[in-house]
Symmetry: none
Subunit: 197 residues, 4 copies
DNA sequence: TATGAATGAGTTTTCATTCAT
DNA sequence: CATGAATGAAAACTCATTCAT
């Protein structure tokens, strides 16, 4: 929480307006005044809920990714094997971004144009997601479903890098193809690798 | 070639100065005047070699990535099997960015803060690299070294996403660890996947 | 109205400051920042009232010439004959520019240094004034006070050309002579021509 | 003579190129480099013939107006009465600008966008032309063809103002109408004035 | 809480002119 | 005489943030 306040209907309205404006006009054309107008509030009101524009963007990412991660965590809890857990994670990753194309544009393209400082804070939010990936990998190692000598950090980079690259391609191709349908083949690819068994 | 000129010692000096200034000060603090001073030329001279600042950045990426890709291609030609080619590609990827940390900062962090238009042009340059990855995968499929039912696009996204994510982590961790040493384990991971054989 | 706003005390203050700065420093030395300082506002405030610098200059001309024309029209309405109307027009033309030397400098010298596009818009404003001249000429023809075969367009060019040339000479001679005193002789000249009756 | 040099084939080529480039692209888009290219010389060569860009423009005006005035003077010498001399002057004024539309654009529109200093020097060149008008008026007064009480300065302003305004209108209307055909009616208008005789 | 008018710092690019060759 | 690569000063405009109401 950047400010003690948070919550209130306007807090949410502003964040949703920001997602919409950034998705529609791009990060560099998403002026505070434009977001305020889209949210139906005065420019100054935004500063009652957020310390500054950067805080708004971080809060946006925190809120959206928080929900994203929670739903993924819940879904994973329902799975039995690490293998199924990974499939579930991939499916949830693709499903949630498929269902909110505006958010996908914002997270995959627009928010990456921000400065290093902001991206560092975004990275912090991602850590919880990466920890989730790690826990699946750990379980997989312990249960010998995954290679026992697996370097968790490398495996996590492979999984996240693959998913992220795939979603970015999907967004840049104007979400023409069915992203969720890729979950199973990608899961299989990550599990078996390139080699011919 | 955006301008008929190009080449000449100043062309290279300006590009190298741009890499250095962007790496040192960040994309948003890399003013033309700062780059000019670093290159030892007048501000206006930059506009004799580049149409505008964006053209300079694109040219920078084209030149550096062009060289990056060429060296990788040459190295791959020396390899016999698709498996070795992939290892070679990973090693060259890591080696070249390891050896030019400034360039790594610029390509992994700073140049991603640019607008969509510029990133699109950067994407064009990358296509040649991705085509190289595809050719290795294709050879692997044909020789049955790689899974014959491999979806090349997905496999390419896995490979590039993994390498890119790994290098970005290396840069963001202030290149504390030995990037090149990761080539072999990552290669193994990509070949075998997560599963316990 | 280029912007919905307009009006308000600052709108007028900025325009008056622009006239003063342009008259004093010349068109090419009338930077926005100089005008803002003279108006006692911040640079950015100018852009709340005017779309850009060109819009400010056009608005300036529209406002000043609008008032100029209105006053002339009202004075002409008080006259009975076309002959007296013409005298009245000449007197108002000279009187109003005599009383605002800064404005005279701006309209006769400085605003003519602008590009064709801006001058075209200035020309539009002048059309109302030229229409006023035309109406006097038309009345004069109909009442046989003026030559019934008069080519109105040529006559208007003679009148406007003569007045404009005279005022420009007055401005360029540092308004050393009494401009208003020339109204009657010029009126007589325009009515009778050069010939010896 | 601004420089001792002058003359030489390149001197004329540069001036003619300047007229063409200014007419075609407008004063503000008539860069020295563009004029040099049009003249088929190097940028620096212009500075061998002209002190600076302003000197080039003044020389352009001097050369073209010098020729303009000389031809007018010669034509007037052939006339007997002041009345015919005035008609001759008007005809030559319109004829010469009609025959060189590029020059008309340059003198009527583009060269007026220059700063006060340059326009003052242009005014000096015009003085010889105005003196020619004055001499006709003087002859007319002395021979009682023109009103003996004529204020020569005012009459000159009327004549020049009318001609100038007419030519400017012709240029701004894309020289759609026959300018020379206006010489006689304008002559009649200037001689007889507006009144119904 | 909410408003929105006002602020003012900060940067790319052009182009007349020079001068070493 | 001729070249043309190099110079470097100069200005309009945007937009995150504030604060009086």
């Amino acid at each position: 929480m950047t400010k003690g306040k948070k919550r209130g209907p306007k807090y949410d309205k502003i964040i949703d307006a920001a997602v919409k404006v950034i998705a529609e006009h791009g990060y560099h054309q998403a002026q505070v005044s434009k977001i305020a107008k889209a949210a139906g509030v005065a420019d100054g009101t935004i500063y009652l809920y957020f310390k500054n524009k950067e805080d708004l963007l971080i809060s946006l990412f925190q809120k959206k990714m928080g929900s994203f991660i929670e739903k993924t965590e819940m879904e994973i809890l329902l799975q039995k094997s690490p293998d199924e857990m990974l499939l579930s994670l991939i499916q949830m990753h693709f499903k949630q971004l498929s269902e909110d194309y505006d958010l996908a544009i914002v997270t995959q393209l627009e928010l990456r144009q921000t400065n290093k400082q902001l991206r560092a804070k975004i990275g912090d939010v991602l850590k919880r997601y990466l920890a989730l990936v790690d826990s699946i990998l750990q379980k997989g190692k312990e249960s010998s479903v995954f290679d026992e000598s697996l370097d968790i950090r490398l495996a996590r980079q492979m999984i996240f890098g693959t998913l992220d690259e795939t979603v970015t391609n999907w967004v840049m191709n104007d979400h023409k193809f069915d992203l969720v349908a890729l979950a199973k083949p990608i899961h299989r690819l990550l599990i078996n690798g390139l080699s011919n068994k």
